[in-house]
Symmetry: D3
Subunit: 276 residues, 6 copies
């Protein structure tokens, strides 16, 4: 069960409105690597966690914080839209090219649908959706997904940081950058903890006995660039310590030609019943 | 530019058809962590790579391999559907409950749309889409995304391995598990290589000077579970070596109440113009 | 079965082209609260209506009218796009900032895909989809959904009315506003009629005996704003006349901690088999 | 900012697993009228509310409660999946038709993706998305949308109540039914309150002066059913008290034929330049 | 403007309910090649047609017919669902494997959302969406798209014809097959008519002067199958009469290596600034 | 299995950056008729082809070429984005309306997500998805779909050709136009070849015996335009040579009124149990 306070985790006060930037900021609200994604991803990981104790508690701490990040960003977007041009005559646009450009760069749905506010969508107006969520029940796989999510999120925040000179927006993004750093480190520390606790084995070890060892550490040289053999990934021990990397420089297919089976007559697929 | 040979990278020969399993295998074809995702993710990362040389070459080697994995899986799905019940009378169903169950468990679109073949969709028939792709141009962030993708993919492959006893299917999945292991290790090695080459700095260091240090390593205790302070993420140095972890046990909001600004009259949002 | 006349229900003649506005008007064509939504929603409600007679007839009257609204709007969009800039050289843009702004504010797909015409999509280019449709077979629930759809549609029409000074566009929107008002009133009257006819009982009454009465009229005070107890929703009889409103000012969870069950070993979820 | 307690708002304890029902229950988790929809809809309405005070406080109370409903349902789904068949051989299925049927009726992604847990998707595996959210900033329009959402949600809950005989599931659904009733009444009371406070005028009155009065209360008889004139919607005063209903029994189009304008040669649309 | 009669274009009376088939029939309602697609595709082609006269009239004749096809199919689906199992106890399922299988094979949303009726979605429950529509304003390109749509639709109808032995369903599908044949022929005739009227030139001729002739009729032999040179597409005149087909048996890339340009420092893409 | 060379099939070198055009070009990358669609459509048709030999070989030749077209376009997009404005202060925008307009017309996700590169999405930022793919296993139906895809693709390329004056971009589009022409002719030749080989019969003939002949060649005159009887589609032999076209000038419904059956009480649909 959840509780709420009306105060924001951090201030969300722009110096001035900027409706074009308000559109861009939607990426952090409802983009694939935005705050709704991490909120829902961590909530479902927490709900689906099968162990009471420190992992579940930590996931729920962070998940609950992320709901508040959606709140901060939504508030910021609404404030950036204050006074955005709503009534626009064709004449006014013809006389004021900057006004015209601002209108062109705005998200029309923030006005038409939201009344001047954030939407659960990204910077191209595409709605957030549940397929962004990685919550597998396997904490090791999920913590890697969380590291990746924070990395993309921090990168996008850094890009948006450079797209404004509004001190209020920058202050909030500086807070967000710090929180992304904190969370990314916490998920990395979580991976270390899983190893310490022997909980990384479930996924990493259990099926290694069945996988075909000879294919578990090779690079198939399938593109003609000649440099791929010169990286860390081409020789030496693998990071998981199980194998030695190798390169197959002249790869040959191991299988026979692939061919779909003869068609079922009732399905009217074109099949091997006539001259070719 | 690409070339193709008709032979498969590895055999895709089931012992016998299994239309219910053919539906499940769609997850590896067109699911969020399936082969189309890694194909397109690595292709776009390769296309968008801004440096000739070993990174681009390695990404393109692996990306090109993944197209062939889609081919193997699509071939396997079509073969698992050979002889699947297409003509079904209500009477036959009433007399043969196993037949009835098989029909219930099949993906109807594999027959109606594909004529007995794989589709670019997942195990619930939801089509693959481009928002699954993480290709940011930042190799460090993207390699983390690739590690995460391989981890989820290997996990799902392992789950599907346990859902069949067909030796031909299992053989192919064993190959796939090995390739996932190889690729995951290669992306992890790629992260090491980026650090060695000084290329991890662009994203990790450049904006650390602006982020608010005091918020970059703390866990906000926002859920009442009492164990979250006992993990690796709560004390000691952070994995990136920049900070010491800490816990805020009684977190207080740092911001004032969030409130959207007064409404624009032309947008007819309900606003502070009347008694409350 | 349907018939068509080439004449529009109402004129759709703009005074002059306005390609930026043509993008915005897409919201009324293919947005979540646009004309395709009400067309398909009412058609499916009508098709699925289980009673011959006045309800089905009325729903089909209105549904059939809505198809014609899509026609009016699509015609208006095409006319607003007449003469829109299609051939644009970089030089011309550099010399004419208003032209540049117009191009920036246009929907590129109206030109590239539609050849200068409306698309079944909203103002951000997101395609209309069938999950917008509420058609449950329960007329009471559906008429509420229809009231809500007309309310959002009227609101968006009013917002778009303020975004243009084209008399021809305004004239059509005035007609649309009137029809939204008419339809909203008709759905509200339909709710009254259902009550008169004893048809509201199916959904409202039949399961009230099983719901837990003590939880059927309380506000759980879960956010720290102090004013929520001062509204109509916090005290006095409920609008349906069944209960007295109340507030739980210090809400406590009624359940035990939620925890997912132990994992199935074959699914490789992280589980309670190791130290935490 | 938000806080969380690990205890559920209400118990979510099924008597026994039921994986087929676990799929159906996804509709209440991530369907168009499910708990994620009302959570996100009310959160965005609250974030976007432009008045401090009782409305915003009430919306945030209910929004915060709804997050906990997602938690209850996700927990219930995971428990219903305990012991669901994960390892299934073709032989076992051939021998046990009920097992075969259960597998056919399950959501494969709950196992393959979630490891035996709920997903942010509906009962057909379609992911929740942000276009379900109605948050316009106009409280009257939004409260109607909320009434509609609760009505559909209650209806779907009632349908699911009849699809199980598990006392634990039924107990939770009885709680949910009560909360839907409470919330629906609260939104209806909110509409009354808005009228009392003079806040319903913004949307209802402000543009009535421009809409074409003669079209604001008529039913166009466009379908040949003869009964539509006999309803409450065809005669008498309109519910908003502004008009008298009427019927146009022989409706004629008011506009001229709709025709898209001549094509731009650069867009290669087929146009009026040749014989027809 | 549109009109409606309550009578169906053709009977939609199944002999008996069949809820599993009712799910499959959704493909013809809301699938990519289903009736909603052709309805919306032809309506938008008609609305966007820039010439009064025979083309627009014919398109609108067929478009208007298609709305009635959605009606027939929706009615059939509802009737196939009559008496479908709604209340299902775990015990009953355990005792009746056929009942269990039927439940597994049903579309749960037809019951939970639709109350036992059709939905605007396909046989996997994926909603119809507007990106299925091809309406370019160029009648030649669109008539080809219509031929393709009717071909896929007829094929799917033929597949569904073989999946039932219900005489009432088969009768309706026989009518549908005939109408698909009629429409496919009419679109092919429309292509002939466009050529006769000199209206095919806009798309086929106008840019042929700029395309690179030497690349306009060759097959690049990029896959190692050796038979592709033996088809009609490899030698002889092209169907449009403009070229002679040829095969490039040893294709070489014409371009230099593709490489994304140096990164913008503010976007933090990994770039050529360090050792590789 | 696939191979890759780093060289592009054709040069992708713009004369100068043009970020607004880079957005438009996304339509050819990830639009419904873009290169990802034809890549995936032909790959799945090839994978699912049930006959070894010339058809499968030809399909795989063309499919493999199309992957390289995605590569060319993605490279072009990245180069068009070189130097695109990333850091934009509100002041700079206020002073430079052309800069403002350029920003307004850009795809924000190309910068925020891609770091200045192409995305698997269309010109409105909507992601490519698998429902665009037509791969039915029936080569005749699929070759018609391929003709239609190439026609729309060529048309969109021609439109984009007119939207730029960059000689480098135009050169690449001229190559693309030629390849679209080649492929469209090859699919048309493939249809001829299927007829020659007797492989067109499966779909065209096999169910003609069951379709209702009297409905297989008539135009139902359902829209009041009077010219539709004057086309090639209204009289004379049908293109498939089976029928004579005819027109039903006064069409009457052949079916009785459509009505959904009585509701299941457990589903709470409004039904015929009370006065109407």
């Amino acid at each position: 069960m959840f509780f709420h306070t009306g105060k924001l985790q951090f201030e969300a006060k722009p110096e001035r409105p900027d409706p074009v930037y308000a559109r861009r900021l939607q990426e952090l609200v409802g983009g694939a690597a935005g705050e709704i994604t991490v909120t829902m991803q961590y909530l479902f990981q927490g709900f689906n966690c099968r162990m009471p104790g420190k992992y579940k508690d930590m996931i729920m701490d962070i998940a609950t914080e992320e709901i508040g990040h959606v709140e901060m960003l939504a508030t910021m977007v609404a404030r950036l839209l204050e006074g955005a041009p709503a009534q626009v005559t064709a004449e006014a646009v013809g006389e004021d090219p900057v006004l015209a450009a601002v209108i062109g760069g705005m998200d029309p749905q923030q006005a038409i649908i939201g009344g001047g506010a954030a939407l659960p969508a990204d910077s191209n107006g595409y709605p957030w959706n549940g397929r962004y969520v990685m919550a597998s029940g396997n904490l090791l796989a999920d913590f890697y997904a969380n590291v990746a999510a924070e990395a993309q999120s921090r990168l996008q925040t850094a890009r948006l940081y450079g797209m404004t000179d509004d001190a209020g927006v920058k202050a909030m993004l500086q807070f967000n950058l710090a929180r992304d750093t904190a969370h990314q480190n916490q998920w990395l520390a979580g991976i270390e903890q899983l190893r310490e606790d022997g909980l990384a084995d479930t996924v990493e070890d259990s099926l290694h006995e069945v996988e075909v060892t000879e294919h578990a550490a090779t690079l198939w040289h399938l593109s003609d660039g000649t440099e791929s053999q010169n990286g860390r990934w081409a020789a030496g021990p693998t990071p998981d310590g199980r194998h030695e990397f190798g390169v197959i420089t002249q790869p040959q297919p191991l299988g026979e030609p692939g061919l779909a089976p003869p068609p079922d007559p009732l399905l009217f697929a074109t099949g091997p019943t006539a001259a070719q």
